[in-house]
Every structure is written in structure tokens, then in C-alpha cells.
Subunit: 265 residues, 2 copies
DNA sequence: GAGTGGTCTAGACCACAGA
DNA sequence: CTGTGGTCTAGACCACTCG
């Protein structure tokens, strides 16, 4: 009623969305082929494709060469920017008695998922905006880059990529230290930076939403029409030096973000 | 090179986007009609429509019954969650010597735009999640609702809607006070709440990205395929009472968000 | 009434994954 | 090889806006 002349392809999308919500199509199951749906609904295959593309963009279904499948990820993961950087959360003990290895680890375990991270440590010349934040000349100085692709492993063993993040650490701090090794141990990067005498005291993050780059789309299994948060995170010490810049890329349909802070007078 | 088999409609979108970026089509100007572009490029009108829809979703062009127009808004507005709630920013003096009326006001003037706000003050039963945050029973208690639609007025007098925001204030605090009047004066809502003995001390915000509701799409001049940030803002006093909940809706293509906070040990 | 974009069909060809 | 979704055309009808 609210939309009297709602186009057919949107009505079809609504219909299928409702069918997924009410359990007619279970998470992970295969939908009928476009051609079958077209026959059922008495429309062209083109229309079904348009309708399903809307659901694909929302992350509700995934289209492959083998058919259309209902996404198995339903609820969103919460990224709480404040607790995630506290020592207690980063080093929190998980259900199986092991200690969490950094913020992302604790975050996923809190949701009953098992985290898995692919890491590549390199020395690189950072992107300009990162060099800028680190206070070093552009296109010149090498820094340590810790590029991660993070997965949520479900109970059935399926690995879903949920985030890519790249941390940049100044060379004079990180070269030749544990910060260039794969496992940063209990409490993660932030704890190790503190060990090295660079305890972080103030964080700032800027957020934008955009289409994924080609590389991001591939890594996160996204289409060009989906959207990601890009969070540029920078941490400075009490002496006001930026000792870490991290670029987080998160599909918007998988995450909520939370922030909290005190007001001064 | 990077995408060998890039579909035609995406290539066309890229082409037009580039033409807009390099000034071939100026901000605010009218593009050729779909039919003309189709003829120029030797493709069907359908394809041009698909291409332009990509740009519409990104907020780069606007389609009307009168033709396709290049958006006049280029850069994004920055919403700095921290400075925006400081007293000095909210009450900052603008170029013309007048005092800013709250956070949004100061935000836009910093960008050379003139803010304009349509306000409707009512007593309403708040949405469930708001009642929850305010610590009152759902579907029952009246609170003060201050619903705003905010515009950026350009130099040529054009008014672009950039945000809708609705603040909810507990009745026992707000009924019969200045909080039910249209103009909350210097420093805005927060200053008046402080005057009434409810100085805010801690803020938390949660962010998600979603399609706009029908009402939001109408108010903000969006299509169903564009995306908005929904920011749920709540403020509590030193005595830990939530005295304000505000729901902010911002088109993602118009805004960047910024947060900053201190780490404890 | 003329011109605009929005929608939809019917049918075609394609690339790609899997048996 | 077959079946899948992805793309594209040609052409049609529509609703809306404006002169």
C-alpha cells in the first residue's frame, strides 16, 4: 500500500527476501535457478536477475556459476572501537581457556565464531595518506606493513572473509623487532608496541563508505555493487607521536560500529 | 587492463564519471539525454540507463523527469563526533560574527555553506529501541521529539537536504521547558540540558549502513539504491542517566565520520 | 502534446564451472 | 558437454513534467 506502483523487480526482491526471512529458503540453501523463478512468477529471466541483484548487494544471497545461494551469515558483527583497544579485552580469556590474540580475535569469539587470519609482513613505502599521518615524506621511506585478511570460521568449517586490515609501523620502531614476526603474541600489536616503549594513549578514526577496490572485492568476495567501510585508524603516544596507522576494510552488511567517549566541560 | 572483460555499462559509467571529473560536464549542468548518449556510443538506451544508475547510486548525478544532472555537491561534509559536542565548537563564532546554534550549524559554516533546519517538536511515544536506551517502558510513555530536516544552502540559493535527525528527551526533563520550543539558542540542545541540571558526561554512538526508508528517501532526495548511515546517539549524565537519544540519518555519499578517544592503561 | 527517464519482454550470445 | 548466471539488443508501453 505504501508504494502503489512499486516496480515488479522490486516486488519480487521483497517477496524472496520475505521467503528467506520466514525460513522458506534456509541459510546456505540453494534458490531455484533464475529460469525456474521466472517461470514460476511469469516474468522474464532478466527481471529475476535484477531482483536477485538487489539481494546480492544487501549480502542476503550470493550468486555463483552454480546457482544462487542464501547467505549463511545472518546477524552483524559488532566492532566496538572502545573496548576493542582495552588491554583486558585484547587479552581476554576465551571459552576454551586460551588467551585472545588481539582485538579481532576476541571480537569473533564473543560471537561463537572462530577467527582465522592470513598475515603478510613486508617492508613497503606506505600510501600517501598514511605517510602523512605518520609524519614521514611521501613515496620515500620504508615502513613495516602487516597486511591481514581475516576470516570467520563457522562450525561447518566454512571460512567467510570478513575484513582486510593493513597496519603500518614506522621503521625506526619496528625494523628487526617482534613487530616484524608473524605472531605478536598475547594482546597483539598494541601490547608489543607498549613493550617497546611506545604505549598508545590516543586513537582517532575516520570512516567513509565506498565501493570496494578490485583487490578488496576479490579478497572479501564482494561484487562491485556492494559497499565497504574504510576506517583509517591512527594511534599516537603520550608524546604525540603517531606510532601506528591501520586501514580497515569491512563490508557494511557484515558489521556494526560502536564508539563511546567522555565529554569535557 | 586491470579488468579485461569489463561489461559495457560499467565502462560507460567509468567514462561518464571521468568526463565529470575532468570538467567536461560541470557540476549542476545537464547531461545529454539517455537517447542521445545511446546514439553517441552506439548502444541501447537500456545500457545508458544502467550506467547512469551506477552514478546515481554514488550520488554523482541526479535523474529527473527533465533530464540527468551532474550533482553540485562534490566534497564530503565531515562529522567530527568529538569536537562537535564540545562547548567551544557548538558556540563558536562564525565569520559573520554571529554565534553558531549547535553542532550542525558550526559544521556547515566551516565548509562555507549556510545551514537551514526545518524543525518539528512533538510529544510522541518513542520507537522501542529508543525507549530501551532511555530506560522507559516500550509503547507507553510520551517523550519530547525534536525532528529536524537539515539543509545545506549553496551560494546560488539551492537547498540540498543533507541529514534528518530526531532527538528524544525524557518528559520529566523536557515537558514545559525551553526544550519544547523551536529555538534552543546558543549552544543548542546540549547547553540547555546542562542549564536544566542535566549536563552530559558520556556519549555513545552505534553506526550502521542501510537503505533509506521511504520517508528518509523522500526527505533526503535519495533513490532506494543509495545508502545512509544510521547513527544512534545516546548521552548520559555523570549520574548515569540517559537524558537524550538522537537518531541521525546521513547519506553515505555526503559525509565522512570522525571519532577520537583516549586509551586507558 | 512532446520529451524525459522507468520498466519490461523476447530473444540472443557469452564465459565459466562442474560432471 | 550442459547448465548456470551475465550481458546486451530492439522495441514496446508507461508516468510524469513542462511548455
Amino acid at each position: 500500500m505504501s508504494a502503489p506502483n512499486r516496480p515488479t523487480f522490486r516486488r519480487i526482491a521483497d517477496e524472496i527476501r520475505a521467503a528467506i526471512d520466514n525460513g522458506t529458503y534456509a541459510p546456505g540453501s540453494k534458490l531455484p535457478t533464475d529460469a525456474e523463478l521466472a517461470a514460476q512468477m511469469g516474468v522474464t529471466r532478466t527481471l529475476i536477475g535484477d531482483a536477485l541483484q538487489l539481494l546480492t548487494t544487501d549480502g542476503i544471497v550470493t550468486k555463483t556459476r552454480k546457482g544462487t545461494f542464501v547467505s549463511s551469515f545472518t546477524s552483524k558483527i559488532n566492532r566496538d572501537a572502545n573496548t576493542r583497544y582495552t588491554k583486558s579485552f585484547r587479552e581476554s580469556t576465551t571459552a576454551d581457556g586460551t588467551k585472545a590474540r588481539g582485538a579481532f580475535d576476541a571480537e569473533l569469539r564473543a560471537r561463537g565464531l572462530t577467527p582465522k587470519t592470513d598475515l603478510q609482513v613486508k617492508r613497503v613505502v606506505p600510501p600517501n595518506h598514511v605517510a602523512d599521518l605518520l609524519g614521514i615524506p611521501a613515496n620515500e621511506v620504508l615502513v613495516v606493513s602487516r597486511a591481514r585478511v581475516m576470516f570467520a570460521v563457522k562450525e561447518d568449517g566454512d571460512e567467510v572473509p570478513v575484513q582486510v586490515a593493513t597496519s603500518y609501523l614506522p621503521g625506526d620502531i619496528a625494523f628487526g623487532t617482534v613487530l616484524e614476526t608473524p605472531d605478536t603474541g598475547e594482546g597483539g600489536l598494541i601490547s608489543r608496541l607498549a613493550d617497546l616503549g611506545h604505549r598508545q594513549s590516543r586513537i582517532s578514526e575516520t570512516i567513509q563508505v565506498r565501493r570496494p577496490s578490485e583487490a578488496e572485492a576479490t579478497a572479501l568476495n564482494l561484487t562491485e555493487d556492494q559497499r565497504v567501510y574504510e576506517i583509517t585508524h591512527s594511534a599516537r603516544t603520550a608524546t604525540d607521536r603517531v606510532v601506528e596507522v591501520t586501514n580497515h576494510i569491512l563490508p557494511v552488511h557484515l558489521w556494526n560500529l560502536t564508539y563511546a567517549w567522555d565529554l569535557e566541560g
